[in-house]
Amino acid sequence: MGEKVYVLGAGSTKYGKLNESVIEIALNASKDAIDSAGITPKDVKAGYISNVFGVADKQVHMAPVIMSNLGIPEVPGLTIESACGSGSVMFREAFANVSAGFYDCVLALGVEKVTHTSTVESTTLFSYCSDFFYEGGNGASFPGLFGSMARAYLAAYKATEEDLARVAVKNHENGLLNPKAHVRKKITVEDVLKSPVVASPLKLYDCCPFSDGASAVILCNEEFAKKSGNPYIEIVGSGRGASPASVQSRKDITTIPSTVDASRQAYKMANLSPKDIDFVEVHDCFTIAELIDIEDLGFFPKGTAAQAVREGRTMLNSDISVNPSGGLKSKGHPIGATGVGQVVEVFEQFTNKAGDRTVKDAEIAMTHNFGATGASAAVHIFKKIK
């Protein structure tokens, strides 16, 4: 392994319906991250940008535009797309380049703007992230793909739609404590069950919202971090995984192989196990995803996540705090930004900026983010520097 890598600064816009252009959103988050790190743009040696639907706001080839507007047009930028997992996959590339010694300090920025499109347009755009010939082209939206996974999971493990609803209720509770969350609203199990069906068995409150937003972090090597005099956190584990692109091609529809593989790599690199993780930000694009995630990441045995949620073991400051930020479900899901937003949450938790949603005595945290139905995934483990 190469050099140790640290997160030195972090910034994020509010997630939700934003009026600014995709570039302005990106620049606002970048400026916050640069200010948070106590550096200037001239310290940034490369920019890594994650974005999926730039075309929806008439801007692709985004990286050079962002670097130019940060006053550093000569600094190389790269735009990376891996559907909903773009942020974490991009973060991994930024991490790898600092670890390899190519750069001592880089900007990792995720951004998305989609709320100006109609629900049909957004649903259609998202469906292009599926294996379209077999999935989107046959009428499956993303709620539909996860709906089919949910039906298989509920049948296999005797879980219920109420169990799915409890995930939403818990994440909305956490999101109420996050001033930057998209949907800050307390809901009940009954609210979820009575909400309109989107793609059975998933209902409106089982689904994360379409969000605009940007999140950015500054990554650097040890020498740069120590010289800065600012607080920083260490990236101690990193893993990437892949699954068959289409759900139909998976031997078991109730697990996501990319998550399992990426987490194993990250645990191995960090020399840690699931019991060492104090809190985790997981990819809960739909409530069923969180149940599958927390099993695939090793926190609960296969088929028992619903029971764990029922017993309150994933609530804030319980056995393992799952999605203290509110997760995609409440905090929001600005596709290209989501994976970076999870890192921002860890940075805020470990630098005493998480307010009422602080996970008490936390020292080790994990982020987990995947693309599409889990065709691509990345997992990272972070350590608080005391």
């Binding site: 629900t119 759900v247 529809i253």
Partner: protein
């Protein structure tokens, strides 16, 4: 300069042609006999790219499904439908498709018998209960 038109059918065109006849066209690896969807280019077991095309009868049983209430573009004209993953009767292979006329889970218990009946440009692989 005029464009040359290829006369060779693409893998997807072949898949569609067979689906229109109610079959699912699969690839069997000549080297290791592994069976995969016709649209793959390499065997995921031995990485050979030599295949024998094998049409299977497009009949099977429902593994899982969803009923789409909020539909993507192009499907607004359908009243209610399910997107279904079903396992072929004759081999250990899952396939997915579009099943019109399903409005509640009671219409489609898991394990229901399904067959391929067509392929439409607009709605993809068309399925029917039988």
């Amino acid at each position: 300069m005029s464009k040359l038109k290829s006369t060779k059918q693409s893998t997807r065109e072949l898949f569609i042609e067979h689906a229109k006849k109610g079959d699912i066209l699969l690839n069997q690896c000549i080297k290791c006999s592994n069976i995969m969807l016709e649209t793959v280019y390499y065997c995921d077991k031995c990485f050979s790219n030599s295949f024998r095309q094998v049409p299977y009868i497009g009949k099977g049983r429902v593994v899982t499904y969803t009923i789409q209430s909020v539909v993507p573009e192009g499907f607004e004209d359908v009243n209610s439908y399910a997107w279904v993953i079903f396992k072929l009767d004759d081999c250990d292979m899952n396939v997915s498709g579009f099943l019109p006329g399903i409005s509640t889970p009671a219409d489609l218990p898991l394990g229901s018998k399904i067959k391929v009946v067509d392929f439409h440009d607009k709605h993809g692989l068309i399925l029917q209960k039988y």
